[in-house]
């Protein structure tokens, strides 16, 4: 049985970027099909750490990040749920004077960006965050940052898009996309043929082949963050915690569980799936128990991981294709996509409607990789632990 669908915009990939773009495009009156090879929000968008953080991002990401920052408090109105978004503040710890100096440098660098960072010394930390253990010399606090529940937010955006009239097609891998006359022809699983004037490639770790098929190979690799969650404990962790120079990051959810991330997981035989390594998880657990004395008697109840697209310069690819009119890329968020995704969705909708956006995205052009013969790397996962993490957090 074959099926045909005609839409203004076809979006490949139902993660947070794709589904927020779909919702924004519906708001502008476009007809939209959102396709996912599995379930919307089931990959990196839904299984990430859940940090909603601007602090620590490279300065070129901050205008986009600020745009997203305005979306988060409006989630309830936008998608019907608040996604457990909590503007708790984000506290980035320094374990030594050198790390503290980097935090100071960063604070100066972004002083004009409106993050309102506050540098806190050792005594200040003791007074205000007494639940943090020894071995920390200072921190940088961003009161406007916070955290949210990715499982709810990512699925919630897709559900809201469906309610708004987006044709959400799950378990529908796109098998081929070609430029065809005025638009695109897409072949998808289940004998589905789509015609679309625009295509958004928001396929995350799976975006490479689509870009490459339009003559734009990118050095997209895969990373697999490692997460541990404890049983629920008494509320104690009032802020989202990060660490300068890498290490662990942690937050406490409404129910009381502490989510701790760090290290990297490894892919399974099917590289679309991954699971934390036992020793990696133990390292995260012990580091968390050392940093937060209240956790010394807690139990870890679950680990998880996910598959995330990563770029060598740690900036995403966002913007129009350099080769193909009507094609727009948005992928490769390198473990830092959750907070900015709702802003990216708005930007993508503007790119479709206007061909441009007021939000500066030049730094994310796919053109920066033109001429590089680098090919999409399916990724064995090997050696990825050596890769330095930008600002210490895989998934803000």
């Amino acid at each position: 049985m074959s099926r045909r669908l005609d839409v203004d915009v076809a979006i490949i990939g139902g993660g947070l970027v794709g589904s927020s773009a779909a919702l924004a495009l519906r708001g502008l009156g476009f007809s939209v099909a959102l396709l996912d090879k599995g379930f919307c929000g089931a990959q990196a968008s839904g299984v990430n750490y859940g940090g909603v953080r601007r602090q620590g991002r490279p300065v070129e990401q901050l205008p986009l990040s600020q745009r997203a920052h305005a979306v988060w408090p409006r989630l309830k109105a936008l998608i019907g749920i608040d996604g457990e978004f909590l503007r708790s503040g984000h506290l980035k710890l320094a374990r030594n004077e050198a790390d503290m100096a980097s935090l100071e440098v960063y604070a100066a660098e972004v002083a004009e960006q409106g993050l309102d960072l506050e540098l806190i010394g050792h005594n200040g930390l003791r007074e205000r965050f007494g639940w943090i253990g020894d071995g920390v010399v200072g921190a940088s606090f961003c009161a406007g940052d916070g955290h949210a529940n990715p499982r709810l937010v990512s699925t919630g955006f897709a559900a809201a898009a469906r309610r708004a009239g987006v044709e959400v097609l799950e378990n529908t891998p796109v098998e081929g996309v070609t430029r065809d006359g005025e638009g695109f022809a897409l072949e998808a699983a289940g004998n589905l043929t789509l015609r679309a004037r625009f295509v958004i490639n928001s396929a995350g770790a799976w975006a490479g082949p689509f870009a490459e098929s339009f003559g734009e190979p990118v050095p997209l690799s895969r990373i697999y963050p490692s997460m541990v969650v404890t049983e629920p404990i008494e509320q104690m962790m009032s802020v989202n915690i990060g660490m300068e120079g890498g290490g662990i990051y942690a937050r406490q959810v409404e129910r009381g569980n502490i989510v701790v991330g760090g290290e990297r997981a490894l892919p399974l035989a099917d590289p679309d799936f991954s699971r934390p390594r036992g020793d990696g998880a133990l390292a995260i657990m012990n580091n968390a128990a050392a940093l937060f004395p209240a956790l010394r008697h807690a139990q870890a109840i679950r680990f998880w991981s996910g598959t995330e697209g990563a770029m060598p310069d740690k900036n995403p690819v966002i913007g129009p294709s350099g080769t193909t009119p009507g094609l727009i890329h948005a992928f490769g968020f390198t473990g830092a996509g959750f907070q900015i995704a709702p802003g990216v969705g708005e930007v993508l909708a503007e790119l479709v409607r206007d061909g441009q956006t007021q939000t500066p995205i030049a730094a994310f052009s796919i053109g920066r990789f033109a001429g590089i013969s680098a090919r999409t790397d399916a990724g064995s996962g090997a050696g990825q632990n050596q890769e330095p993490q930008h600002s210490g957090e895989l998934r803000p």
Binding site: R275, P276, R277
Partner: protein
Amino acid sequence: MKGQPLIVGAGPAGIRAAQALVAAGLRPLVVDEAPACGGQIYRQRLIPDGRSSRDLYGSEASKAEALHRDFAALDGRLDYWPQALLWNLRDGRADIMVEGTSRQVAYDGLVLATGATDRTLPVPGWTLPGVFTLGGAQIALKSQGCAIGSRIVFLGSGPLLYLVAWQYMKAGAKVAAVLDTAPFSAKFNLLRGLPLFPGIVLRGMRMTAELKLGGVALHYGVGDVRIEGASTVAAIAWRQDGLEHRLACDGIGYGLALRSETQAADLAGCRFAFNTRDRAALPERDAAGRTSVPGVYITGDGAGIAGADAAERAGERAALALLQDRGLPHDAARAATLEAELARIGRFRAVLEAAFPFPAHWMKDIADTTTLCRCEEVNAGEVRAAIANFGVHELNRLKAVSRVGMGRCQGRVCGAAAAELLAHETNRGIEAVGRLRSQAPLKPVPLTLALTAQQEAAE
């Protein structure tokens, strides 16, 4: 030289597997959560208390004694870690918590004999103190020598229902009633089992008769069950033949047969398929116990519910398969005999399933206020709302948006109920809603768990 095989579980299946491997000259490592071998069914007392094997295991005493004795006789020819928790498996390595630290074991051949736990469906009041699973009630009696109450009701379906009620009565406890969720007519199916295993069927009939003679009320076709009580169990109410019933009690043993413990097989990468008889996704296996992953074998109730007698045979059969796959001599005639016996037990299982059917239909009418996932404290109404609001129709997606199955037990307790409810709410067959993916740690582990430096178990 080949490495050491790892056997997970020291119940009937694990013991017989170990015995067969040792007999062939291998030195397996056996890890087991319990302090002593025997599994749940042949669980040993914590301390000697004057009770005989006959007191503890009834008609199965000789089987229990043989297993305990045979395993003890392997001492020195295998490595045995009791009170050891397998909490992670990947890339041919097992992470095992034992004596307060975690050891990583590289294994060559993995025999999973992980057994089963009670299957339940939520009913109002099922989380009240005083409500035990049938298996839990049996452990209290066998291992700790205590009863779960002074006036006890046993509720559910399955052979264990009558066995545990009978064991309690024999131990001198006051059993107020046995509430069977299946109609009496379902028991006529047992007659079909007579030619296969007359001894078992007759023993069951005798137990039922003795319960009646002992003054225990037997009720059939029990539905709409509600467990009442403010802070602990005070009474149980139900409907039967259109009439309302109520009985005061302070302890309830409840179970709807058993469910396989398959999490380790999942982490080992085994492919699963839906099994209609068990109404659950089970690791695919051949008649010998080979899974879809070379070198990984699954046996006993963890491979699908078949009981202790089957487990003994399946454990030995899987060990023979491991030997064969390693190119070692193995007894092909013995393997064929075991497979024939297992097939016969499998036919009997179908009889039992018809005599003790699972009341899946209960989930259709579950009240919104009834707790479905007790770890995460999610009630049925919240699950229904999540299904509707997020438009999910797959179990892991339901978990993601509702927290069902996300807590300490990872869905062991509520997973079957969540699947039934999801199937009903989305008008799908139970086989179409998927299965909860397992994650390490398979059971909670301390955050301060340390990894021991040395690689254990290199032969």
